[in-house]
């Protein structure tokens, strides 16, 4: 688990998970998407809470699925269009466990990791991204 301004290498992260004995690796990578006019996202976070929140989410996933390895990387700072923001990787002996845990982790990161995205647009404007109700609903669908 890492929270960092630095970029990361998804291939190297997958290789680390593949080296575990599980045999089933799922991953999700989120990048800054060009929605027309966006130049960068600035990610602010609450450092003292972030590590705790992510460790808590990972512990929930490990309690729920038989995981052999979990990698969560979340960047902060100013990230241009096309930059990687977040990576979740899971390793298990069971295909379904790795897939479900990966989806669970990214859904929960969306609603319970203390990050806030600000859009920086080519016309010079800045605006905080509003939380999507759909993310909340999807995270709640996992139950507790």
């Amino acid at each position: 688990m890492r929270v960092s301004a630095e970029d990361f290498d998804p291939g190297a992260e997958l290789a680390r998970l593949e080296a575990l004995p599980g045999g089933a690796i799922a991953s999700f990578t989120g990048l800054v998407r060009d929605d027309g006019g966006l130049t960068a996202l600035h990610l602010e976070h609450y450092p003292a809470m972030t590590e705790r929140a992510i460790a808590d989410i990972v512990a929930q996933a490990c309690a729920r699925w038989p995981l052999l390895g979990v990698t969560v990387i979340h960047r902060h700072g100013t990230l241009p269009v096309g930059a990687r923001i977040v990576f979740v990787g899971t390793a298990s002996s069971h295909r379904v466990a790795s897939l479900e845990a990966c989806a669970f982790l990214i859904d929960w990161l969306k609603v319970s990791a203390p990050f806030w995205k600000q859009e920086r647009r080519s016309d010079g404007t800045r605006g905080w991204v509003e939380a999507a109700g759909a993310d909340d609903a999807r995270a709640k669908a996992w139950g507790k």
Binding site: E44, H45, A48, R52, A113, P114, F115, W116, W128, A131
Partner: protein, 86 residues
Amino acid sequence: MGQLKILYFAWVRERIGRDEETLPRPPAGATVAQLLDQLAATSAGHAEAFADRARLRAALDQSFVPLDTPVGEARELAIFPPVTGG
């Protein structure tokens, strides 16, 4: 007694114009919402930031809590919009 550190993030921070402040710990039983009422009286920025409580979230000692939670013995309170990471 003791102190309560208050942290602000995202547009809450921008409207208030600072990222943290420190208050004496509020009386026993006082909730986060009551503390926001008190802070809203201290500046126009606070008043604007705290005007719509439905758009605010809080954490006490780095754990999410509803706004009607008593501050209790917590040492750090954070006020921010709903998170948008991931």
